[in-house]
């Protein structure tokens, strides 16, 4: 690290490439975001749905049609249209939803907390179970617990998530009645606590209304466990292979020869060294949950961004579809950058 160097020149030197690296990253992020917006823009243009007809209806006169056509800027060159689109997105304007005639951005802001709540709980389950499972599987390589971890991951990679969700609902809700059904709350509990964050678990905890909290929990536990299982499969697999790499390193042998306890070797030495890689993996799986929850949300009638996009899609509400896609894509990119930055900050080797 630069801090330990004493000479002036040496201390300053590492900062310049760091800033340069950060600027380069920012630049490439900007390009990626532009590309993402361009792709959604093109999708919106090649759409078989006529945006003008969708607004004015089939019986509008030609003059009305032309007026709206010009109002939407469709008479301008494609590049100019794209710049207009960019300007709108920068201001957070995704246009109006055709279904309910409200701004898409408001709709997204309304549904997003539900997705956030579900994905956060899911990735939490994935971390709490997946990291220890991966570490133990690596330490006891070839043991029964390693085999179990292998099967758990393999099944996770091969299982259609929507089917597993259906089966979960069938067994735990339909037959056993242990959990709440689809939706976020029973109808009886709806609109009791004031919405502050949009996340019902948090809202009800703030309001101190534990009966709502319990009901919300009984609804979220199954979909969250389902998403948790998928991130568990990924996180445990990655943890295991990172740990194996560390455990075969020479410093681990040295520590063992010194007579250090096995627990200290594993957690204080080997595990400390995989933390940075783990953060990257967790950020990636969080991003995947935020987007991959589309099917889960459909199964559990969860009013999040995944259901929002799908419903909009099925009713040909293009502004809503593209707005949702852009938001999910931007979050995806941001989480990727975040994990990249954390990597740079915490791993001295990457400098």
């Amino acid at each position: 690290m630069a801090v330990t160097d004493t000479t002036e020149g040496r201390r300053r030197a590492p900062l310049v490439p760091w800033i340069k690296g950060a600027l380069l990253t920012l630049g490439s992020v900007a390009v990626t975001m532009l590309g993402l917006l361009f792709v959604t823009f093109i999708i919106g243009r090649v759409m078989p749905i006529d945006p003008v007809l969708a607004i004015v209806g089939e019986r509008a006169s030609q003059s009305t049609y032309d007026a709206v056509y010009q109002q939407l800027g469709l008479d301008k060159p494609l590049l100019v249209q794209f710049l207009y689109y960019l300007w709108d997105v920068v201001r957070g304007d995704f246009g109006m939803s055709l279904l309910n005639a409200r701004p898409v951005s408001e709709d997204i802001a309304r549904v997003f907390p539900a997705t956030l709540e579900l994905a956060t709980l899911g990735v939490f389950i994935g971390i709490v179970l997946g990291v220890p499972l991966g570490v133990i599987a690596a330490v006891r390589r070839g043991s029964w617990i390693d085999q179990i971890a292998r099967v758990v991951a393999l099944v996770g990679y091969s299982m259609p998530i929507f089917w597993l969700g259906l089966m979960g609902l069938l067994v735990f809700y339909g037959i056993l009645g242990w959990v709440g059904g689809p939706g976020r709350l029973d109808i009886f509990y709806q609109d009791i606590v004031p919405s502050r964050t949009g996340m019902i678990l948090v809202d009800s905890a703030i309001a101190g209304d534990w009966s709502v909290f319990r009901n919300a929990f009984s609804h979220i536990v199954l979909p969250a466990a389902l998403l948790g299982y998928y991130s568990l499969a990924y996180i445990s697999r990655m943890t295991r292979s990172f740990m194996l790499e560390q455990l075969s390193a020479e410093y681990v042998t040295t520590a063992r020869v010194k007579g250090m306890s096995e627990r200290a070797v594993i957690w204080r030495h080997a595990f400390r060294n995989i933390r940075v890689q783990l953060i990257t993996v967790i950020a990636l799986s969080y991003a995947n949950l935020l987007e991959g929850s589309v099917l889960t949300e459909i199964i559990f009638s969860w009013p999040g961004i995944g259901s929002y996009i799908t419903t909009a899609l099925l009713s040909a509400d293009m502004n809503a579809v593209l707005g949702g896609t852009v938001v999910v894509g931007l979050i995806f990119i941001c989480l990727n950058i975040l994990s990249d930055l954390l990597y740079r900050v915490f791993d001295p080797r990457s400098k």
Binding site: V46, M159, F162, L170, L313
Partner: protein, 308 residues
């Protein structure tokens, strides 16, 4: 074992020789050794067995299926599993689920084969050109790849299907469009390591052009890592296709696509669980088989990751 008979033994010896006599001989020998090491992997062979079974079922669907998968029989709807004449029961329109499952294997294989043809080839083209050309071409192509990688896959596929219209071919196209970037990355990485090797310089000195070098000397060396990746990706492709079918954006009714069958059975799940359960099990089995085979192939073709 049949290997112990005399002619087999000589074949084996010929295949396992250390000193191949021709190029073809060396190729066959290395192929055979790979096969031997794959064969010792029980789980991979299990996966391969399932896939061969699936292929046979798809091939002989009209002969195996007890009923026409499209013929409805409303008096016979929602029969339970094991009902007379209907091993896996019937769906909400009285169609035999087993027959639909059997015909559905054709759709699954069709989707898998198409995506496996489109995505890796596109990725191979982009990746090798980027890696070989370097400079601006590389920057631009890889930037485009990054943009597609940055997109969440299912959401992008949804948006594409929305633009192209629902249907099985469009679903294939949408999945391919989201699936090619990792192949481009792999192909580019391979190209970068191959490009600077001595034998490429030698060929270039002999006057070979870029096209010849890429197609004849770089592509063959990228193939094995691409095959591994394709096999491992198959599971994801099947799941994505089933997901699109489930959402009603893939294969359209009355097509017996497995994802769409789950979606159909979903409405009756509490009273008639088998309608949605059986196709889900089929999807799971096939993607599991691809994962098992992919793991085994990776150990054989890509020894540097082996055992991890």
């Amino acid at each position: 074992m049949s290997d112990m008979t005399a002619p087999d033994l000589t074949w084996r010896a010929w295949l396992l020789t250390d000193a191949p006599t021709s190029r073809r001989h060396a190729q066959l020998a290395s192929f055979y050794q790979g096969w031997l090491s794959l064969r010792s992997n029980t789980m991979a062979m299990f996966g391969l067995g399932i896939l061969i079974f699936l292929l046979l079922v798809a091939l002989f669907a009209p002969f195996i299926a007890p009923y026409d998968p499209f013929v409805q029989s409303l008096g016979n709807r929602l029969q339970p599993m094991g009902a007379e004449g209907h091993l896996l029961g019937t769906d909400s329109l009285g169609r035999d689920i087993l027959s639909r499952l059997i015909y559905g294997s054709r759709i699954t294989l069709y989707i898998v084969a198409l995506v496996a043809l489109i995505a890796p080839v596109a990725g191979l083209l982009v990746g090798t050109v980027a890696g070989y050309a370097g400079g601006w071409t590389d920057t631009i192509l890889m930037r485009i790849t990054d943009i597609f990688l940055a997109f969440p896959r299912l959401v992008l596929a949804l948006a594409f299907v929305a633009a192209l219209g629902a249907g099985i071919e469009n679903a294939v196209l949408a999945i391919s469009l989201t699936a090619w970037p990792p192949y481009a990355r792999i192909a580019r990485a391979e190209t970068l390591t191959i490009r600077s090797s001595d034998y490429i310089s030698a060929i270039r000195l002999q006057g070979a052009g870029a096209l010849r070098i890429i197609t004849k000397h770089i592509w063959p060396l990228c193939i094995s890592s691409l095959i591994v990746r394709v096999t491992l990706d198959m599971a994801g492709i099947i799941l994505a296709a089933a997901g699109l079918g489930f959402l009603g954006l893939g294969a359209q009714p009355p097509s017996p696509e497995w994802g769409a069958m789950i979606s159909e059975g979903r409405r009756f799940i509490l009273d008639h669980w088998w309608v949605a359960t059986v196709p889900g099990l089929a999807i799971f089995t096939v993607s599991l088989a691809f994962n098992l085979l992919g793991d085994g192939l990776r150990d054989v073709l890509d020894p540097k990751d082996g055992g991890q």
